[in-house]
């Protein structure tokens, strides 16, 4: 079946569809859609672009969890980012190769949950809002559509435990500050998993007390540490280093950065 019925309820185990490239032009043609009128693209025009993806996901559970999250978070802010990445990744179980198909994620944004894209992003311009529905390039934070961005950042940060369970705490930490996700996930560096893990380890300050929350370092420290760490990659290729080597490098950079910030302020 390579159709999608806009009036049917979403189901768990539902067969996924993808949108072919041509559907992108409908976003420009019916820009009311980008402004929140999600019925504005006639189904007859969408239909020729809908293709079967040969994959399934728990779309009903995802819908329910996204609705709850939207009710609990402030619209048009990054507040929902950490939890939305977790629930999207948890309910859409794909291999990396399967998830590399952007057309799949366009269907999540344009067909299944356009209301969630609206909840997350304010409408600023047609071209900026289009990027939230349709991935424009492989830069996860800047130019990937809402669901593609969320799934992949979770994929690159979550940790599978020995017992098969998945720990999403690193995902929540990575998305707790926009500055961090923007500097890390728009760059090829983020594709080397040990580098992302090492950055999170060193730049996230654990709470001193169990009942307090930890947090990512200040923006100034994040900016300069990541900038210098990226430069180090051309002298010390990431793929030649383990997570522990990378952690040590980042730790050294962070302390140098903090020292120079302190010096410039005094």
């Amino acid at each position: 079946m390579n159709d999608w019925d806009p009036n049917a309820d979403l189901e768990d185990g539902q067969e996924l569809v993808r949108l072919a490239d041509g559907a992108q032009s409908l976003l420009s043609k019916y820009d009311e859609f980008l402004r929140g009128n999600h019925d504005s693209i006639p189904h007859s025009e969408l239909k020729p672009h809908i293709q079967s993806a040969g994959l399934t996901a728990d779309l009903a559970t995802l819908e329910e969890e996204l609705r709850e999250l939207a009710a609990d978070t402030t619209p048009e802010t990054a507040q929902a980012d950490p939890e939305s990445a977790v629930i999207i990744h948890r309910n859409v179980d794909l291999s990396r190769a399967e998830a590399s198909d952007s057309g799949l994620w366009s269907a999540f944004a344009m067909l299944y949950y356009p209301w969630f894209v609206d909840h997350r992003w304010a409408f600023n311009s047609v071209s900026a809002m289009k990027e939230k529905f349709w991935t424009q390039a492989r830069a996860l934070d800047g130019k990937a559509s809402t669901f593609e961005r969320a799934w992949w950042i979770a994929e690159l940060t979550c940790e599978e435990k020995g017992d098969g369970s998945v720990d999403y705490e690193p995902t929540r930490r990575a998305l707790s500050k926009r500055r961090f996700s923007l500097l890390v996930f728009d760059t090829p560096m983020a594709r080397y998993e040990p580098a992302v893990r090492a950055l999170l380890k060193v730049l996230y300050d654990e709470p001193e007390d169990d009942d307090e929350d930890g947090e990512l370092a200040e923006n100034e420290v994040i900016d300069e540490t990541i900038k210098r760490f990226r430069k180090s990659g051309s002298v010390f290729p990431y793929e030649g280093q383990r997570k522990s080597d990378l952690e040590e490098t980042i730790r050294n950079i962070r302390s140098e950065v903090e020292k120079s910030i302190k010096a410039s302020k005094s």
């Binding site: 490239d21 990396r96 424009q136 390039a137 080397y192 760490f229 030649g240 140098e256």
Partner: protein, 358 residues
């Protein structure tokens, strides 16, 4: 002893804080085996096209890297300017092959040699990829990296002064080599429905006796002749950087630059296609063919006749007439319509803000 390399100084790829010899490694794929079948030798050992294989689960590659005789002595003091009478032929380095699959956001490295020591000659090892993790294309690149710290006692026993510029830290780049590309699935960039986009070497195309291709210094060629029903835009592979950014854009800089390249190319391409489609328009024909002609006017008619609400056939008819009567007015109309469609200023501003930091 220079214990840490200062990471806050500005580094270009060519200028390293230590001595290295780039581009000295020779890297190739000796053979590959799909799902345990008999190993196959690739036709081109640096450009593998595996798109014909479908439904595989694992492919094993045998990777070979040749470390030239002279290289190790140049970058490792243990082998190089050694005062020892019989310098060792092995040195503290690793040959690492880094794999990068842009589509699956995956990077990984594998060490080909054993025991953190390398000697001159060929090292090889296998690399296995799984269908779950790799899609579209995999790029492999070889590196020679220092494997152990250069300790101060070693420095003094080798008679090295404090001003030497050998790499001292493990992981430091000593050399690299050309990459190997493996095409896994067919992949087309761009999403313009009316235009097929391809890449080829114009230099090679020009070796044929009769070729429609322009000379090798050109960047692109819009072929409307060979198959009038199917226009093809060719990018010239002889300009490696251009093709690489458009096809394999990686990170913000590449993506934003690709948009500029795309606009630069698409501006005249749209203009030419509009002009040809208008010129060949036949209002009395039953069907408007070839298909790309109406497609062009569907995209452009609102910009060609802004505020006039002309249908695509009406727009084609008007433009045809205007091209005959006043080429100056008609070409200006096309010029402005294409700018309306592509909005080149937006891309340039985006580039300036996000890459140029303006």
């Amino acid at each position: 002893m220079p214990s840490t390399i200062k990471l806050n100084r500005s580094l270009k790829y060519e200028t390293f804080p230590h001595h290295c010899e780039l581009g000295e490694l020779n890297f190739w794929i000796k053979e590959y085996s799909v799902d345990g079948d008999e190993a196959v030798q690739p036709e081109d050992d640096r450009r593998l096209d595996l798109t014909e294989y479908q439904g595989w689960s694992e492919i094993e590659f045998t990777l070979c890297v040749d470390v030239p005789d002279s290289l190790l002595g140049d970058v490792l003091p243990e082998i190089g300017e050694s005062t020892v009478v019989d310098p060792p032929d092995e040195g503290p380095a690793n040959v690492v092959v880094a794999g990068h699959c842009v589509s699956t956001y995956t990077r990984a490295g594998t060490v080909l040699n054993n025991g953190d020591e390398v000697s001159a000659g060929t090292v090889d090892d296998t690399l296995t990829i799984s269908e779950d993790d790799i899609a579209d294309r995999l790029v492999l690149r070889p590196y020679l990296l220092r494997s152990k710290p250069l300790k101060s006692e070693t420095e003094s026993s080798l008679g090295l002064g404090s001003g030497h510029d050998y790499a001292t830290e493990p992981g430091a780049l000593l050399s690299d080599g050309s990459e190997c590309r493996i095409e896994i699935t067919e992949h087309e960039p761009g999403s313009d429905d009316v235009l097929q986009v391809e890449r080829t070497s114009f230099e090679r195309e020009n070796e044929a006796d009769e070729t429609p291709f322009p000379p090798a210094d050109r960047m692109y060629y819009l072929d409307l002749k060979r198959d009038p029903n199917n226009p093809v835009l060719y990018f010239n592979e002889d300009h490696e950087q251009v093709v690489d950014i458009v096809w394999n854009g990686d990170g913000t800089y590449d993506d934003l630059t690709a948009e500029l390249i795309w606009d630069q190319v698409m501006t005249p391409v749209w203009a030419r296609m509009t002009q040809v489609a208008a010129d060949e328009y036949d209002p009395d024909a039953d069907e408007w063919t070839p298909e790309w002609h109406p497609a062009v006017f569907e995209m452009l008619s609102e910009y060609l006749y802004e505020g006039e609400d002309k249908s695509p056939p009406k727009a084609a008819e008007s433009l045809q007439k205007e091209l005959g009567e006043s080429p100056m007015a008609a070409t200006e109309r096309i010029d402005q319509a294409v700018q309306g469609l592509l909005e080149p200023a937006e891309q340039v501003s985006n580039h300036a803000q996000r890459v140029g930091d303006r």
